[in-house]
């Protein structure tokens, strides 16, 4: 059978295509050429949708939120794809229709297949189609159509993504998926749960019997130490002891007047014994409360306390009165009665007044004494000043005559100075005359004279009189005036001092009469003495006043206490109904109450001791009941042992089955992984030569001349090492660490082409979506040559290439001829779909 070539595609309402589009594929090499978003990929995906009802890589959460298959502007609200294929003899017609849904996947399609006069529909049609073409959807996307995304995954740096991409490419994804679906951890977890349950039951089985037996032994030892015999530890003995205790409880209840509730005898088993024990314990508790209530001394104690407090208060008041009287006696013994103290205070106050007057008098005299003393000092001082002046200048009369003498002399000097002045004026006038006239004869005597000599002589005399004599006289006058001034001043001072002295002596005489010859020192000492006496008297007066107050306070206290005592006697009278001898009656009543309280205490103590004794016996009985209960448990556990064993056996069987299942799954995983690994090695080994041929032709790397793809296991997962290799130097490197994006695409493309051209299917076409992405012009040229070479090598197949790359398109056109090449040009896109031009 020859492979089925794609002849025609008729599509409407699918992805980016709204209105009906018919495309015929008539040549072995077809390019779909157009810019981004013109609908190339939509046309390519119609083929996989038509054949399998699915579109690869339309997956993700958003695709489940809306329908990405049916065109959103489709008036029929449906996608329709019709494919015409032929093997050269017969025609295969495939029609697939899909209504618009709410999501991309999971919406049913209607398929019709016509072949060789037969028509199929539904699932049968799908099975027929896949059997006829020999490919599943998975095979189609790995061997027939190279999506852009598949290239990226093959060269991914993430080993898991790369591993899955290679598994898919090599057709081994099925085995990886199966291994990953084996629920090993879930089964291991279940086995662990069963083991824990088995362990728990085992522990329960072994330990609970041992624990309760040990507890029973310990309890029994304790009871035997208390004097019980082995025979007392049985349920029957417990019933007998219960009966005896119950009788004692009822007897005590009768004696104390309690109407106790009826408690029946228990059955000889732990449950009944515990129940009745609780009931009799309740009765004992009632008995305890009853005894404490009936035999309570609270009322008597309260009365006793009250009377004792009364007694103590009376005693205390009496003591206070006695003490106050004692204190009064002591004060009166020392200071006299209140009246006497008041008299003493009056006398002292009088003395104080007298002393104060004396002090006042002396204090008034003191300034005068001080003034007199200061006056005398001043008189001595004035005397000294007068003496000093008279010693220096003489008596007052001497000074006066000296002043007169000096006045006269000064007057003489003034006359002399005036005379000398006149003479000097005459000489000056004579000089001026002779000089002006130059007379040569004396005007007085008429004798011949020399005027110049005369002038010269007169000038010398003028000098002598005017300068020397007058100056000397003036100097003398100045000295005499100074002396006169000094004498006058001293005279004046002397007169002032004499006046002062006279006044002081007059005052001195007056003060001497008033101060009686006392000095200030004597007067001050006298005042201090008087003040000391005054202080003592004031202290005496204060002490007496204090004692007088104390006496008054003590008398008031006695009065108040006596009144309180009367009140207390009144209370005794009212309380005990007596009219005399209050204190004796009170003491007798207190004694009576004490005796009464003691008797009640004795009775209560006796009953409580008996109750405690019963409680002790009940406590021991409780221990015996615990033994009975543990004996019952031991019997029950022994009875349950086979049941637990059976449960354990069932769990063991479950566990064994799960272990067997896990083992089988692990075996399958190991075998599948191993066989898959071997298969992948075989396939890659077989492909290696062809991969390197394509790699060399498309990439032509300057250093790494080959590719090496090797399956490896990492952390239990299979992945693939994708390496570049230098065969001469035997050096290798990971493609993702060394290659550019374009080189990685070229390596991935070489791998895809090697596989797609090696594995045989019944589909006669190969689809490449944007194979030249990221390549430079040189590599695009290489790729174009490889495509044309493939057309020649595989005449039974059509190669369909979608590209937006103008350079690559031009290279194809340049390298090929119209007899083998067809160009479908997409110019643009509107809501109706792509604008298509087909050139042959």
């Amino acid at each position: 059978m020859r492979p089925f070539r794609l002849v025609q595609v008729i599509v409407s309402g699918f992805r980016g295509i709204n209105r009906r589009v018919e495309l015929s594929f008539e040549k072995p090499l077809v390019t779909l050429f157009g810019g981004n978003g013109t609908g190339k990929t939509s046309i390519l995906t119609t083929i996989e949708f038509g054949l399998f009802g699915q579109v690869g890589y339309l997956s993700g959460e958003e695709f489940q939120r809306e329908d990405a298959i049916v065109n959103m502007h489709s008036s029929e609200k449906q996608a329709r794809v019709e494919l015409i294929l032929t093997d050269g003899e017969k025609v295969l017609r495939v029609v697939r229709v899909r209504k618009m849904g709410r999501r991309t996947s999971g919406v049913a399609t209607e398929l019709t297949v016509e072949f060789d006069g037969q028509m199929f529909s539904g699932e049968k049609a799908q099975r027929f189609l896949e059997e006829l073409l020999g490919v599943s959807f998975e095979d189609y996307v790995r061997l027939v159509m190279l999506h852009q995304e598949a290239v990226a995954e093959l060269v991914s740096a993430k080993s898991q993504v790369r591993g899955e991409a290679f598994d898919r490419l090599l057709g081994l994804k099925k085995y990886t998926d199966i291994v990953q679906a084996l629920p090993k951890s879930k089964i291991r977890s279940k086995i662990k749960d069963l083991e824990m349950e088995l362990n728990r039951i085992g522990v329960q089985e072994e330990t609970r019997l041992r624990t309760v037996t040990e507890q029973r032994e310990k309890k029994a030892r304790d009871l035997l130490k208390k004097g019980l015999a082995f025979g007392d530890l049985s349920p029957f003995s417990a019933v007998v002891e219960f009966k005896q205790i119950r009788n004692s409880v009822y007897k005590l209840a009768d004696e104390t007047g309690l109407k106790a509730s009826e408690v029946e005898l228990p059955e000889p088993n732990a449950r009944s014994l515990k129940e009745k024990l609780e009931e009799i314990n309740n009765v004992v508790r009632q008995l305890y409360d009853h005894v404490n209530k009936v035999f309570s001394t609270e009322r008597i104690t309260n009365e006793l306390v009250e009377l004792q407090e009364l007694q103590n208060s009376i005693q205390q008041l009496k003591e206070e009165i006695q003490n106050a009287k004692k204190n009064i006696k002591e004060i009166e013994g020392k200071y006299g009665t209140g009246g006497q103290i008041e008299g003493k205070i009056g006398q002292i106050e009088k003395e104080i007044e007298e002393l104060k007057e004396k002090i006042d008098e002396n204090e008034k005299l003191l300034p005068k004494v001080r003034e007199l003393e200061e006056l005398r000092e001043e008189i001595v001082e004035i005397d000294e000043q007068i003496l000093k002046i008279t010693n220096e200048l003489g008596t007052k009369d001497d000074i006066k005559s000296k002043i007169e003498e000096l006045g006269e002399r000064i007057s003489e000097l003034e006359n002399e100075i005036e005379r000398m002045g006149v003479l000097a004026k005459l000489l000056s006038n004579a000089v001026s005359y002779i000089r002006d006239t130059l007379v040569n004869r004396c005007p007085v005597c008429g004798s011949g004279i020399n005027p110049h000599e005369i002038v010269s002589k007169l000038e010398r005399e003028m000098q002598e009189v005017g300068v020397m004599k007058i100056r000397k006289l003036q100097h003398e006058k100045k000295e005499l005036e100074a002396a006169l001034k000094r004498f006058k001043e001293n005279l004046e001072t002397l007169e002032v001092l004499e006046k002062k002295l006279s006044e002081r002596r007059k005052r001195e005489k007056l003060l001497e009469g008033e101060t009686k010859g006392l000095t200030s020192l004597e007067l001050e000492s006298k005042i201090d003495e008087l003040r000391g006496k005054l202080g003592k008297l004031v202290s005496q007066k204060d002490e007496l006043a204090k004692k007088l107050r104390e006496l008054n306070e003590l008398e008031n206290l006695i009065e108040k206490r006596e009144k309180s005592l009367e009140d207390l006697y009144g209370k005794v009278r009212d309380r005990l109904a007596v009219s005399a001898d209050y204190e004796q009656v009170l003491v007798a009543k207190i004694e009576e109450l004490k005796v009464k309280s003691s008797k009640i205490d004795e009775n209560r103590t006796e009953y409580l001791n008996r109750i405690r004794d019963l409680e002790g016996r009940l406590n021991t009985l409780e221990g015996v009941i615990e033994i009975v209960e543990m004996d019952e448990k031991i019997r029950e556990y022994r009875k349950l042992m086979p049941e637990l064993q059976e449960q354990k056996e069932k769990l063991r069987r479950k566990k064994d089955k799960l272990v067997s299942l896990l083992k089988a799954i692990e075996e399958i995983e190991e075998v599948v992984s191993r066989v898959k690994m071997e298969a992948s090695k075989d396939v890659l080994e077989m492909l290696q030569l062809r991969i390197n041929e394509f790699y060399g032709e498309i990439c032509g790397h300057p250093y790494f001349d080959a590719l090496k793809i090797k399956p490896v296991t990492r952390r239990g997962r299979t992945t693939y090492e994708f390496k570049a290799y230098n065969t001469g130097e035997k050096r290798e490197s990971y493609v993702v660490t060394r290659f550019s994006q374009a080189q990685m695409n070229e390596a991935a493309l070489a791998t895809f082409l090697a596989l797609a051209t090696t594995q045989r299917t019944n589909l006669g076409f190969l689809i490449l979506d944007d194979p030249s992405q990221s390549m430079d012009e040189k590599h695009k040229q290489s790729l174009a040559k490889v495509m044309i070479q493939l057309v020649k090598q595989m005449p039974q197949k059509t190669i369909i290439i979608a590209t937006a790359d103008q350079q690559f398109q031009s290279q194809i056109e340049k390298e090929t001829s119209p007899d083998i090449y067809q160009k479908i040009e997409l110019h643009g896109w509107s809501k109706e779909g792509p604008t298509i031009k087909i050139s042959l």
Binding site: G134, V135, D139, L143, G171, L172, K174, Y175, D177, I178, Q180, A181, L182, P183, K186, I187, K190, K650, L651, R653, K654, K657, L658, S660, L661, A664, I665, E667, I668, V671, V672, R674, V675, K676, E678, A679, V683, T757, T758, Q759, R760, T761, Q793, M794
Partner: protein, 68 residues
């Protein structure tokens, strides 16, 4: 250009696994056949679902016996 048929690879791998598992025991081989069948019908998810159901069946088995 030489080609080899696609279906042969998968058949070969399945056969190899079958032979290997028969060597380890009957149970493993039987389980593998079941797994293949489950995979063909519903993929890996179907395999997982059936195996978990098998585990539940084992765990419930004894309980039913006890109740019975």
């Amino acid at each position: 250009m030489s080609e080899f048929p696609l279906e042969n690879i998968e058949k070969e791998i399945d056969e190899k696994i079958r032979v290997e598992l028969q060597k380890t025991g009957k149970d493993c081989a039987k389980l593998w056949e079941k797994i293949l069948s489950w995979y063909d019908k519903g993929g890996a998810e179907n395999v997982k679902r059936h195996l978990l159901a098998l585990v539940d069946e084992i765990l419930m088995e004894e309980e039913e016996v006890r109740e019975g």
